[in-house]
């Protein structure tokens, strides 16, 4: 009677994308945040601006991580607040399908946009053009991994009143390896060394989370929805 898992996923994906584009702020929020954080740093460092170049990968990655994290908070929360998450949960579709569709939509609007905007920020931070391909690849893998990790955290914390702090507390420790290898990949590319090792590691992390996170996030959601 009810429709299959794949059409359902497509439907939810479309719903999510439409919602994001209906609220351009949700779409722009992480980008603007990313831009602004990277602008703030040079200002704060103005007495020692010469450091900027060495810090650039670090600044870039911290900004990316934070902006992605901020938008993850609303992954399930908005739906929980207006009662539509209940409707989704009662739709006859498995929670896994819902989680996958929502997370992919989140990555499509936040991660991809972030990668697309990174050249601008990188130029302002004086990262050389040669390092761009590695930067793109590492950011794309990193943001996808982060979206999956964030889905678990968001699933656990939706409905909890202490949600957002918990989210950072849960997700950030998990995201640390991401940060270290992402920044080091970009750093090595800037220095002209081979970033292969760090990139492989990022790729492995990404595959790992992509296969396990949906299950974990669905379980988390089931616990908290109750």
């Amino acid at each position: 009677m009810s429709i299959g898992a794949f059409p359902a996923m497509r439907l939810i994906l479309r719903r999510e994308l439409r919602l994001y584009f209906r609220r351009p702020d949700q779409l722009l929020q992480p980008l603007v945040f990313f831009l602004i954080v990277t602008t703030l740093f040079p200002l704060a460092l103005s007495p020692r601006l010469s450091l900027l170049r060495d810090m650039a990968p670090g600044v870039l990655w911290v900004a990316a991580l934070l902006s992605s994290l901020l938008s993850l908070e609303t992954l399930f929360k908005a739906d929980a607040e207006d009662g539509t998450l209940e409707q989704l949960a009662l739709s006859g579709q498995s929670l896994g399908v819902i989680v996958i569709a929502k997370t992919l939509a989140h990555w499509l609007v936040s991660g991809v946009a972030l990668v697309a905007m990174s050249p601008l920020v990188a130029t302002a931070l004086a990262i050389p053009t040669d390092a761009f391909p590695v930067m793109f690849a590492s950011l794309a893998l990193g943001t996808l991994t982060l979206s999956w990790l964030g889905a678990i955290g968001a699933g656990l914390t939706v409905g909890l009143r202490r949600g957002s702090v918990l989210l950072s507390l849960i997700v950030l420790p998990l995201a640390m390896p991401l940060l270290i290898f992402g920044a080091s990949a970009t750093d090595r590319a800037i220095g002209g060394e081979s970033p292969a090792g760090a990139l492989y590691f990022l790729g492995a992390l990404c595959v790992f989370t992509t296969s396990l996170a949906p299950v974990a996030a669905a379980a988390a959601l089931r616990i908290t929805l109750e």
Binding site: M1, S2, I3, P7, A8, L11, I12, R14, R15, R18, L19, R22, R23, D79, D82, G83, T84, E86, Q87, L88, A89, L90, S91, G92, Q93, S94, L225, E226
Partner: protein, 219 residues
């Protein structure tokens, strides 16, 4: 507008039944539900009534599976709902206290993305359904600008469009004007005539032309 009433999955329609037995729920320190139970068959309506805060909403959430009771179980066609989750959910339409609309989506889109998960449905049919609940003019307005009664009517259209045999409605008459109330009653009649079941929480007597079973909570 081909059908006057919503055709419900025919084969099973005769054998449908929903029952709950000795449901116990605690909320904080309060023992809200103390052994509530009922049984409803195809074509029957259960009117859940009782003073404010006696657990009507809680009972409905237990029945639809959103809340697990500390004791007791709900069964659909003889099987506990936990065991047949997907099938049960496909056969059920729940309307909560709030209208559960995304305020940035239009009324039509709201229906498309929630009804669409239950069954394949076209925009044309959804527009028709919105028309039947009297909010055709609001189909393309974002839900955010709708008046309280209009939101409620959109939620009503969602229940209708799901074509589910089991309706669980929490105070569906809230915010409706007198025409809306009459409309809701007619819809319930048609649903029951078609072999559907309904659990309705309401504070007032339901003006239906059939005997109604009543569950009074909080005595």
């Amino acid at each position: 507008m081909q059908e006057a009433t919503d055709p419900i999955d025919a084969p099973r329609a005769s054998s449908l039944d929903l029952s709950a037995d000795k449901i116990h729920v605690w909320r904080g320190d309060r023992h809200v539900l103390r052994g509530a139970g009922f049984a409803v068959k195809a074509g029957e309506l259960l009117h859940v009534a009782g003073p404010n805060g006696t657990g009507k909403t809680t009972l409905l959430r237990v029945v639809c599976g959103l809340l697990r009771p500390e004791q007791g179980a709900v069964s659909w066609c003889g099987r506990p709902i936990d065991a047949i989750r997907a099938e049960y959910q496909a056969a059920m339409a729940y309307a909560s206290h709030e209208a559960a609309l995304k305020s940035d989506l239009s009324a039509l889109e709201n229906l498309r993305y929630s009804v669409g998960l239950k069954r394949r449905v076209g925009d044309h049919e959804l527009r028709d359904t919105l028309g039947r609940t009297g909010v055709a003019a609001c189909a393309d307005l974002p839900a955010r600008v709708l008046s309280a009664g209009q939101r409620r009517r959109v939620a009503m259209a969602r229940v209708l469009a799901m074509r589910a045999p089991l309706w669980l409605l929490d105070e569906p008459f809230t915010n409706l004007d007198s025409k809306g109330t009459a409309l809701m009653c007619r819809m319930l009649e048609a649903h029951l005539d078609g072999g559907g079941l309904a659990l309705v929480v309401a504070h007032h007597a339901l003006a239906l032309a059939r005997p109604i079973r009543r569950l009074e909570l909080g005595e």
